[in-house]
């Protein structure tokens, strides 16, 4: 119908290397996006640090986002004493956001987090971080507290302890990773769908009627994806904060 030919999934997410194909230092678009995201995150931390009486430029952005992360994420999710972990949560937030936002930047048009490697790494890093926080605040008793929540009848621990163990140490990093990955991949595929539809309908006699709709949807989807890339960074940051807060104090 309409000569519509949908590109294969490999074409959408697998990019050829710019150089050094096949070797371990092969460098493709995803690597470039990740490097740029790291540089931008580091830039926020370095240039946002310059003290000035009247903040301007990057400093303004850094102050606004730190204020937002402190009031909107850490105070809500951890409460008092959570400010200590602001650097980690802020780094995660900015890195995920910059990786996502390349989805709508022309000539990139690919979210860096739509490949499983980056989100999985972030998820595992968060697991290591909150286990370390738990060990620091509660000592080795952290693992006991994590697996044996209080207020459960003794016999039920046979059932509860394995479930708690799995959900804390396996499902948490996996669900963090899958949530980010699937959201970004779904958004990428949506944008591609409407772009392909618009391109295929272009120049047909019917196109005058249909193209405005599919093109309008494409523009709307791009706006929606800007929102999603912010929202996913926010959700990742808030979940990391909740897990860190849960590791700081045992349940009671």
């Amino acid at each position: 119908m309409f000569g519509l030919e949908y590109p294969s999934i490999q074409l959408l997410v697998e990019w050829p290397e710019f150089f050094a194909e096949g070797s371990w230092y092969g460098f493709n678009k995803i690597t470039l996006i990740n490097v740029l995201a790291v540089l931008l995150t580091a830039g926020i931390f370095v240039f946002g640090n310059k003290g000035a009486l009247v903040p301007r430029g990057v400093r303004n952005l850094a102050e606004a986002s730190v204020d937002f992360l402190d009031k909107g994420v850490l105070q809500q999710a951890i409460g008092h004493g959570g400010e200590k972990y602001l650097p980690y949560v802020a780094a995660i937030f900015f890195y995920v956001f910059f990786g996502n936002i390349f989805e709508v930047i022309p000539s990139f048009q690919m979210p860096g987090n739509a490949r499983m490697a980056t989100p999985l790494f972030l998820g595992v890093m968060t697991l290591v971080f909150f286990v370390a926080v738990g060990l620091k605040h509660q000592g080795p008793k952290y693992f006991y507290n994590a697996c044996f929540p209080p207020g459960v009848p003794k016999a039920l621990y046979l059932l509860v302890a394995p479930i708690e163990f799995l959900s804390t140490f396996l499902v948490r990093p996996f669900s963090l990773a899958v949530r980010l990955f699937a959201n970004m991949l779904a958004g990428h595929i949506l944008i591609v769908t409407f772009a392909v539809l618009t391109a295929a309908l272009w120049g047909l006699s019917l196109s005058l009627i249909i193209v405005p709709f599919s093109f309008g949807m494409l523009v709307a989807m791009i706006g929606f994806e800007i929102m999603v890339s912010f929202l996913q960074a926010y959700v990742f940051a808030i979940l990391a904060a909740v897990y860190i807060g849960g590791a700081m104090h045992p349940e009671h």
Binding site: S8, I9, K71, G72, V73, Q76, A77, S175, V178, R179, F181, A182, N183, L185, A186, L231, Y234, V235, I238, L239, V242
Partner: protein
């Protein structure tokens, strides 16, 4: 005649229609993928709708608690949505892997 055709009858019909085994596999993978995502979207759809509705009600009744409610709402959405997203991953795996 049974309501659900058995695998054998599907294979027989496919053979009569001139489909090869690979095509048959592709077709059933596409059907399964569509079903997997469609069914996985039902529960989270209901869940997120209910969750956001209740949150809006809470915020309207108690505007001073809007910040806490919003944070908790996003947390709840994140957990509920995970099921739909796992369905989407299953879709990708069935269709393309």
């Amino acid at each position: 005649m049974s309501v659900l055709p058995t695998l054998a009858t599907i294979a027989q019909e496919a053979g009569e229609a001139g489909l090869t085994a690979a095509e048959l596999k592709n077709n059933s993978a596409a059907t399964g993928a569509g079903l997997a995502y469609g069914l996985a979207a039902i529960g989270p759809g209901i869940g997120i709708g209910y969750l956001v509705g209740q949150s809006v009600q809470a915020m309207a009744r108690q505007p001073e608690a809007a910040g806490t409610v919003r944070t908790t709402m996003f947390l709840g959405i994140a957990f509920t949505e995970a099921l739909a997203l796992i369905g989407f991953v299953v879709f990708i795996l069935l269709k393309f892997a």
